[in-house]
Amino acid sequence: MEIVFKDVDYIYQPNTPLEHVALQGLSFTIPSQSFTAIVGRTGSGKSTLLQQLNGLLQPTSGTVTIGKTRLPGAKAKPLKELRRRVGLVFQYPEHQLFEETVKQELLFGPKNFGLDLGQVEAWLPQVLQDVGLDESVLERSPFTLSGGQMKRVALASVLILDSEVLVLDEPTAGLDPVGKKQLLQLFRYLNEEKGKMVVLVTHNMEDAMANADQLLVLNNGCIESVTSPKRLIEKRDQLEAIGLAPPESIKFVDYMTQTLGVNWNEHEATVDTVSQALIKRIKAGANK
């Protein structure tokens, strides 16, 4: 399933004194089964953009095509079908919990979409394991859980829909570093092994660069660029100009180049590749 935006504008409360243009002239394509990160500073339109992906908001002008569904213009039934195929996890999803037990919470979505509940229940342990929760939480009230656990339950309640596309708004905000790494690994796994399209919204360039194969940079409701992580590093000055910090690893490389005069050819983004290159150099130096 491919997602195509064509000249999309979105305006909040049009024709009123509170009118606010959130998105302007967006045109881009998210290829099927890709891992795309949407980055931009606060207020750049990330959240508005993400709600277009499952029809919660529909473009004021222009079109969004998601698989066979075209927005605006879809009727209630295809819209619901679209929401089943595009799972969306909002920022702070723990605020949406309401059921008496975690199990009921997880079955809420499948019930609404009319999935086979027997099948879904058999799948519960796997989903819980995926998000790093113990099976014993199933019968507990979600409100007795810790903040991090609640977040995982909320995430699981969308994952259980097994949708083709997974849209995540700052899914790791407020989690400890281990939990954060674990979840990012899960998203990578879902993308690489299960062939799901993942759209990750974040302002953490580290996470975006390390995981995504396509980066969509938003600034003031407009597309700044659509590139691969590698290409974006070459334009890092531009990033800082729009309020995004390049990853620490890149800053480190820059520092090495400037102060130590080390000529650094690798334009790799992640901590792993930079440290590997560093090790290679140190070893080479030691052998001299």
Partner: protein, 265 residues
């Protein structure tokens, strides 16, 4: 967010009405309402309509915005009017519909009461549209201050009011977020049988209440952490200033109200 009901919203502008002191606006509103209940002639009603229209124009708030935003009110006004036309039993019978008489007084009284309702709501909306919520609270506090002598906790009431007003947009936003999050999980409360629709409200209301309680708790903590101990003897950063224009408006409004009262009485 869809354009919601505008009652209680504030639209910052730089108009004459925006610049008036909140107390001036509150007094004017009260005087206006008194006038409206005193008069009983259609001619003066048309003057009131003109006055309201003038105020709206002065406030530079687009009339279309006001009309759209008060949609639920139109229904109420129309209902009031029709109810009076149908069930008023005074005056001359104008015509009958299958043995059911419609009287001229029905039109007159229906028109009067619907007009009162309409004009009152438009003026009250105009007050909140042109005055920041906190300024409204400050104004109310000023009017209630004499009651502190009678032991009324005016300052506490004012801060309660300020907090509630402040929380309305926050809660609306929260509701919007929650309903979207549940819609993403397939919740649909616009379709199905009435019973199902009511049931579908639970996933919205429970998270909303929980977040409201959490917010209240956090706010109480934050206030205590900053040493809040009741509101007695507090000074205010925003001082209300009565300008020449305010005196003129209040005098004008009072004079007009009294003269209308004398003319009719």
């Amino acid at each position: 967010m869809k354009q919601s009901f505008i009652l209680g919203q504030y639209i910052p502008r730089e108009s004459f009405i925006h610049r008036l002191d909140p107390r001036t606006k509150i007094i004017s509103l009260i005087l206006f309402v008194i006038t409206m209940f005193v008069i009983d002639r259609l001619l003066i009603y048309s003057l009131l309509y003109g006055f309201v229209l003038g105020c709206v124009l002065l406030s530079t708030i687009p009339i279309t915005y006001l009309i759209k935003g008060l949609k639920p009110v139109w229904w109420l006004v129309a209902f009031t009017f029709i109810f009076h036309v149908l069930f008023q039993r005074d005056g001359e019978a104008l015509f009958d519909v299958f043995g059911f008489f419609i009287y001229d007084q029905g039109f007159i009284q229906g028109g009067e009461i619907a007009s009162r309702l309409l004009l009152m709501i438009v003026m009250a909306t105009l007050l909140t549209l042109t005055t920041p919520p906190l300024a409204v609270t400050d104004g109310m506090r000023w009017f209630l201050t004499p009651l502190t002598r009678l032991g009324m906790p005016v300052n506490e009431l004012a801060i309660m009011m300020a907090i509630s007003l402040r929380l309305i947009p926050t809660m609306t936003e929260e509701m919007d977020k929650i309903s979207k999050a549940q819609a993403a999980r397939g919740l649909d409360y616009t379709q199905g049988r009435l019973r199902d629709r009511f049931k579908a409200l639970l996933p919205l209301l429970i998270p909303l209440f929980i977040s409201a309680f959490k917010r209240a708790e956090a706010l109480a903590m934050a206030m205590e952490a900053r040493g809040y101990q009741g509101a007695d003897h507090r000074t205010s950063y925003r001082q209300l200033v009565f300008r020449t224009m305010d005196y003129i408006v209040v005098c004008l409004m009072t004079t007009v109200t009294i003269s209308i009262y004398l003319m009719i009485g």
